[in-house]
Symmetry: C2
Subunit: 398 residues, 2 copies
């Protein structure tokens, strides 16, 4: 009886879904999460701030909100980005609030893509972005990467041939899924190519403030002189994902179209959550909070890297991220990431995400993504041991 | 430089936007709102409930939520609908949470519509729904209405000719914009036609619990034996729009597709807001709260009807809604709703919404929508006086 739209036909549940199903199940250890640690959530501070929001601003936060976002939060974030990160001050740019950065992905696709248009992505990229783009009829073209991310010469090759390319999607800092970052020199090259071919860059950057080592790299958006870059930020990883607050810094012209699409999706983001974020950022020192998050995650990353070196160092190599939530296991050529991931799930009760979930063409590649933000230090010790055992058994069996 | 997708080309800012701009501006009286009165928001109760949510459930409400919705809230609403309204118990149906009923409109279009498909709507219908459908390439076909809403024979004529009709969009109770309701007998006829032509009915029902007089009419969904009806409900008008909580009761098969689309839009609705709604509904008597809302709105409706009778009774007739937030002024044939609306805005500082905003084909029709939930009793007295003066002057001048 039901005939569905063709736009969702290409969207199949990925192997990642099988992994997510057992997250939190007793007896399982999960390296499959994409979330920050609940230990970092400012629950107590939010409990203290909440009543006054309802008592002083109830008639506003309980009403329909402004589609573009809470004016106080917008202004505070805009100032933070100008002062701390030196972008967002262009006269033609503004900052708007969305229901998580996920909504910015969806709305950008809605605003820019006609059926059959191309989005240029990293060869391995965030699955939730690629699915959002596909749902608007996009064809995804993955650009080869090395340890420093997307290779500029390869990007140029793609733009030369793909005439229907509409925008370039990048997570330049602590990339999901690989954990790697694009150095400044290469960011400049990529930006110049985008300008030369007159393409928008969607700079998705939810992790950049979670740096545990190495030097800060400015956003691609800092290079933007004429509105070629949309920067998407988020409070999900540095405050709480449940707020569902993302924000875009981009040209007024592009944001106006996103706003039009947003009116159809949810009218406005939750006004209480926005006022909560504003008051939290007003009362507490976000940078101090971020520093505490970094201390926690640095320890977890270091333990995971040490354990990996010991347990799988002879079988595979892996990325050494300077921040973010993820690292990437490069398995020997020819090894099935799906096969190993399934083996680890079934035989070791260890969840990881096979590389295929992030592959632009969905291929079963020799790779796994590991998350280190959610498991405890003890779970990291046990889990990497299981990973080593499982990998040895699996490699011996194929 | 920016080339936008064609899907948003047809979406022009409506005349309603000009009206909304002055809502709340001092010196203006607004009958243009689409919102409930802030006097009904349970601000104090929410202030009391909030801290415990963060302290007891912070790690859950601050985390990514479940796409389908908070299990406790889903179960509570499902029970309420089964017990109070006698639907939602079909084995093949379930209830899911969305970010306002607006998101259900968007996602249903996303799941069902291919470019060029038809959505059958009331001749005068909710503008936000029509815009959401158009953005997925829908062609809207309006069905003629009388004082009892969509005319079944006219619906059948449309379905006979429009082979690409995908679903029928209805607000059967206290319709937006007209305030009228479809009687039970006619609901049955419409349902039978939908089944005969194998079309889904989208039953949008955010107002039905706000009844001030007349007899309760069961939802079309109560007639549904095999999943032809999606019922969309909302907490916006009976608790607070800022919660951004809508819910759909529909077949699992259809909801699974909506969930897929939702993952791309916002991953999940705000978990804190959902837990807040759950605890509010657990601790307080929602029906008692609704009864208080009805007392307030009944008074406002009665005053508006009395004033209208006195001030414009000789020039126009108008709907006498038994509930909801709106009533509809039928102007004499040939009078421009846009013209009168603009005149009232400019000369009388009174905002209304011209009928064209709700016309399926966007035509300038002889009609205005008035809202009576937001203005105070005093503003209703003054506003309707201004409406009478303005209408007399305008009709004399054309």
């Amino acid at each position: 009886m039901l005939e569905f739209a063709s736009r969702l036909n290409g969207i199949k549940p990925s192997i990642a879904r099988e992994m997510y199903k057992v997250i939190g199940k007793p007896g399982y250890i999960s390296f499959a999460s994409g979330a920050p640690s609940a230990d970092t959530f400012p629950n107590r501070e939010m409990a203290e701030l909440a009543p006054a929001i309802y008592l002083e601003r109830g008639n506003r936060v309980n009403a329909y909100g402004i589609t573009e976002g809470d004016p106080e939060l917008r202004e505070m974030l805009r100032k933070r980005y100008i002062d701390h990160y030196h972008f967002g001050s262009r006269e033609a740019d503004e900052l708007q609030i969305f229901t998580g950065a996920q909504q910015i992905l969806d709305l950008t696709a809605k605003a820019l893509l006609n059926e059959g248009d191309v989005v240029v992505v990293d060869e391995h990229s965030y699955s939730g972005a690629m699915t959002a783009f596909r749902a608007y009829g996009a064809k995804l073209v993955g650009v080869p990467m090395d340890d420093s991310g997307m290779i500029p010469e390869e990007l140029e090759k793609v733009l030369k041939t793909e005439k229907k390319a509409k925008f370039i999607y990048l997570i330049p800092t602590f990339q999901n899924p690989m954990g790697i970052s694009i150095p400044m020199e290469r960011r400049k090259e990529i930006y110049d190519i985008a300008v030369a071919y007159d393409k928008i860059i969607f700079e998705d950057s939810p992790y950049f403030e979670l740096r545990y080592s190495g030097d800060y790299i400015p956003a691609i958006k800092t290079l933007d002189t004429d509105g070629h870059v949309l920067f998407a930020g988020s409070l999900s990883k540095i405050m709480a994902p449940g707020l569902r607050i993302g924000f875009a810094i981009a040209s007024r012209e592009l944001l106006a179209k996103l706003t039009l699409g947003k009116q159809q999706q949810d009218l406005s983001s939750n006004p209480f959550a926005q006022q909560m974020a504003f008051r939290y950022l007003s009362k507490y020192d976000l940078d101090e909070h971020i520093a505490q998050c970094c201390d926690l995650y640095r320890k977890k990353r270091d333990v995971m890297l040490e354990c990996l070196e010991k347990e799988i160092g002879s079988m595979a190599h892996f990325s050494h991220p300077e921040g973010g939530l993820f690292l990437w296991i490069y398995l020997p050529a020819g090894v099935s990431g799906n096969g190993l991931g399934t083996y680890l799930l079934e035989k070791k009760k260890l969840t990881t995400i096979p590389g295929s979930a992030y592959h632009a063409a969905g291929e079963d590649i020799p790779a796994l993504r590991l998350n280190f933000s959610v498991p405890s230090i003890e779970e990291i010790h046990i889990g990497v041991k299981l990973l080593g055992e499982g990998m040895r058994e699996y490699l011996d069996s194929v």
